[in-house]
């Protein structure tokens, strides 16, 4: 169900940041400040997608708790996406100068 996969997704994303790519964004103020801004706009877009509704959810796959029309699971999905995105972005950026120095 969506609830389980969303929680697993957040766990995997955190593992990518802290253990795999070791970008440790989850320990930095820059990440959480950015996420606060992104989360606000995610609530708007998720609200539109589920409020119109462009996306429809199986009621048996979610807890049934909603935030601006969207199931809370969407917030977790979006959070995992932001963590993986920024971790990958930061890791790719850290490599470039080292290569240039060689």
């Amino acid at each position: 169900m969506y609830t389980v996969s969303a929680v697993l997704g957040v766990g995997l994303a955190a593992a990518v940041d802290l253990l795999v790519l070791r970008t440790n964004l989850l320990r930095h103020k820059a990440f959480w400040t950015s996420y606060a801004i992104i989360a606000f706009f995610q609530l708007v877009t998720n609200g539109l997608l589920t409020g119109i509704p462009i996306v429809r959810y199986d009621p048996d796959g979610i807890l049934g708790w909603h935030l601006v029309f969207a199931p809370v699971e969407d917030l977790l999905f979006g959070f995992a996406m932001v963590v993986v995105t920024l971790s990958t972005w930061v890791r790719l950026g850290a490599r470039a100068p080292r290569r240039a120095a060689r």
């Binding site: 996969s5 820059a30 877009t45 119109i52 796959g61 999905f77 979006g78 995105t85 920024l86 972005w89």
Partner: protein
């Protein structure tokens, strides 16, 4: 008109964040190779999650609000674009925060 509803939301996200590149000069689109690799990672990971969820029947899309192009795995084109647009917006936001607070760079 309603068929472009999802597409319009994505366009609004791109337009809303464009000033970060054009006015704040965060240089995210300028680093297009780095951005492309980042987006590819997200598309593969989260696209797979999406296709699996559609397959399991966890969610579906109302064709009334879609342009009507469906990709393998019954993924609407707009949903693939979402995995390009939202990460790009996220990176732009992150770089904009760092532009204002350079001492926060990890």
């Amino acid at each position: 008109m309603s068929h472009v509803a999802y597409l319009l939301i994505l366009v609004a996200c791109l337009l809303g964040t464009a000033p970060l590149e054009l006015v704040l000069h965060v240089g995210v689109y300028a680093q297009w190779r780095r951005l492309a690799l980042t987006l590819l990672t997200v598309v593969i990971g989260f696209g797979t999650w999406d296709v699996w969820s559609i397959h399991r029947g966890l969610w579906n899309y109302d064709g009334h609000y879609l342009v009507g192009i469906t990709l393998p795995g019954r993924l609407p084109l707009e949903e693939l674009l979402l995995f390009l647009v939202i990460p790009a917006c996220a990176v732009l936001t992150y770089e904009a925060v760092l532009a204002r607070r350079p001492d926060w760079r990890a």
